[in-house]
């Protein structure tokens, strides 16, 4: 049986919409609860996208700061997780574009051909191998896989976060899984 529930399943207590309303009403502890619920998932997405601990940390902080400042624009009835993921994803894209502008390095648009992660993966257990395989995916596939992992099989929300049509998300996801299977298979053979 597949685990289809989102990884950011909400802990018992007021729902996210109520917490947003309470924050807007002046209860700052309510926003602290939202941070407690989502900081790890938001950081996870930022880290997977940026591949850098410090930058992921800054992007996470920036995302929550932006969310806090523009909380009034949050549409009641929509999902807070989707909203905050979209904010952090855009923050990550800005950082990636800046990186592109200031360095001559090519962005990881295709799987890293160097044998490093794969060779390392041989000695690792399944989870580690899977992590290494995800790390070596191109950025667009990596993000889709990460959101799929975080939000469960909720394609619509993944599409909303990335600002892509649902068909494109499904295609990216299909290709990402295909590449993952290949990478994991290759590691197995080696």
């Amino acid at each position: 049986m597949l685990a289809e529930a989102p990884r950011v399943a909400v802990k018992p207590g007021p729902d996210d919409g109520s917490l947003v309303a309470m924050t807007l009403g002046g209860n700052s502890e309510a926003f602290a609860t939202l941070v407690e619920r989502y900081d790890r998932a938001v950081y996870h997405l930022a880290y997977r996208t940026l591949h850098d601990v410090e930058e992921a940390r800054d992007a996470t902080q920036e995302a929550f700061f932006k969310a806090y400042r523009s909380l009034r624009t949050f549409k009641p009835g929509s999902k807070f997780s989707t909203w905050i993921f979209a904010i952090v994803y855009h923050a990550c894209c800005d950082r990636l574009n800046r990186r592109k502008r200031y360095s001559n390095e090519e962005m990881p648009e295709r799987a890293d051909p160097s044998p490093g992660p794969e060779r390392e993966a041989i000695a690792m257990d399944e989870a580690r191998r899977l992590r290494a395989a995800i790390e070596s995916l191109p950025e667009k596939y990596r993000t889709v896989i990460t959101l799929y992992h975080l939000q469960g099989k909720q394609y619509e929300e993944i599409a909303e976060v990335l600002g892509l049509p649902m068909g494109t998300v499904k295609t990216h996801l299909f290709r990402a899984k295909e590449q993952l299977r290949k990478l994991l298979g290759a590691a197995e053979v080696n």
């Binding site: 685990a3 998932a41 996870h44 997977r48 601990v53 996470t60 993952l180 994991l184």
Partner: protein, 126 residues
């Protein structure tokens, strides 16, 4: 291990999330809900800016010498203030006023303390 679609999904969903830096949550909260309130509100900044701009304009007028009437008025005000402050009769009156205020305070300063002392006594008796 052969990863078919279900096995891959299972493996993906079983993955633990990345462990964030230890002080991440604290730094987010410091930057958002526990951020100290700004010293001045928007309107206060606006008012202070307007006052600063007027002062700057006045200084510019004085420096450029194009406002002789303003300079004369300032000089007249300064003269009156200095004369008043250094006039012997004014200083005498100020001294007399100060002494009277101090003398009156001797009778009034200790009264609230005495009253509060009585209240404490009542509480203790109860």
């Amino acid at each position: 291990m052969n990863f078919d679609d279900d096995a891959l999904d299972r493996a993906l969903f079983a993955l633990e999330l990345e462990e964030p830096p230890a002080d991440l949550r604290a730094s987010i909260l410091t930057a958002t809900v526990y951020r100290p309130a700004p010293m001045f509100s928007f309107y206060e900044v606006l008012a202070l800016g307007a006052i600063a701009a007027v002062l700057l304009l006045l200084v510019a007028l004085v420096v450029m010498g194009g406002a002789s009437l303003f300079v004369h008025s300032l000089q007249a005000i300064a003269t009156v203030i200095s004369r008043t402050l250094f006039d012997l009769s004014t200083l005498t009156w100020i001294a007399a006023g100060g002494a009277t205020a101090m003398w009156l305070s001797i009778f009034t300063v200790f009264q609230p303390a005495m009253a509060s002392g009585r209240k404490v006594d009542v509480k203790q008796h109860r």
